[in-house]
Symmetry: C2
Subunit: 156 residues, 2 copies
């Protein structure tokens, strides 16, 4: 296998100039893979992954999300949200409560422990994000964040 | 269900200003979901999805990829690549051939039919990409592509 490495590297370099490399959907998929691999590794000591971290983050917001809100905003299937919330609830990090605005629906709210863990996890993800973006300067990072927000944060 | 829609919209809007919305990994995941949903829909008439399209695209390059190259470059597991290539091969769009540089390994090469389909598919994905980016102007699109390339096209 070791013998494969040099040719593998040069191959990947040749693909860097492929037609596909100019396509946004490909670049975004690859950036997501790079970023989430790194973030999952970094979050491991806190027993979180990017997805459970995202749920915890939204459960810390002033307006607490329903499970449906979480699915919509995180672009996941509701069936993927349930086990994430179950796991966080079992660990005492979130609770399901009747919504203050609509008693018929339940919202997911972070507990004190959940909020404390979130503060630590946020530091970890900020650090791993900085690593992913290491070859962009501060201005370029802001620019990238701003452009992505305008594309990704429209209702769709 | 219809009664849920207004509150759902306003909730999602409130999450737009959440801490999470400032995080790159979240923006990238959301953009990927938006882009690939749209591209998959657009590619449906050609019986392709974003993943099989990506394999076909690389199989059209001058330096043909091995299955391992495809897995590395598309950040997929090799076990995910095999059925994609199988499907394209069954449809006569690609063939597996002994590598011209290393007879022990096989490369994936597009057939004439595969190349013709790719040309049509590329037009489709270009159109769906333009839709995804509709609220960025030409200069901003180039900027976004350039910034993403610098982050995503490093070997990792």
């Amino acid at each position: 296998m070791a013998a494969d490495s040099p040719s593998k590297t040069s191959k990947v370099e040749s693909f860097m100039t492929s037609d596909l490399s100019g396509e946004l959907s490909f670049l975004v998929a690859r950036m997501r893979a790079i970023g989430s691999t790194r973030a999952n590794d970094a979050l491991k000591p806190l027993e979180l992954k990017v997805r459970s971290y995202s749920v915890l983050s939204l459960a810390c917001e002033k307006v607490p999300p329903t499970q449906r809100d979480l699915a919509d905003f995180l672009t996941l299937d509701p069936s993927q949200i349930v086990p994430l919330v179950d796991d966080l609830e079992k660990r005492g990090l979130v609770t399901r409560m009747a919504s203050p605005t609509d008693r018929r629906s339940k919202v997911v709210i972070a507990t004190e422990d959940g909020r404390n863990l979130y503060v630590r996890a946020r530091r970890v993800t900020a650090h791993s994000e900085a690593e992913t973006l290491s070859n962009l300067n501060e201005e370029e990072r802001t620019q990238l964040r701003e452009l992505l927000s305008r594309v990704a944060l429209r209702p769709f």
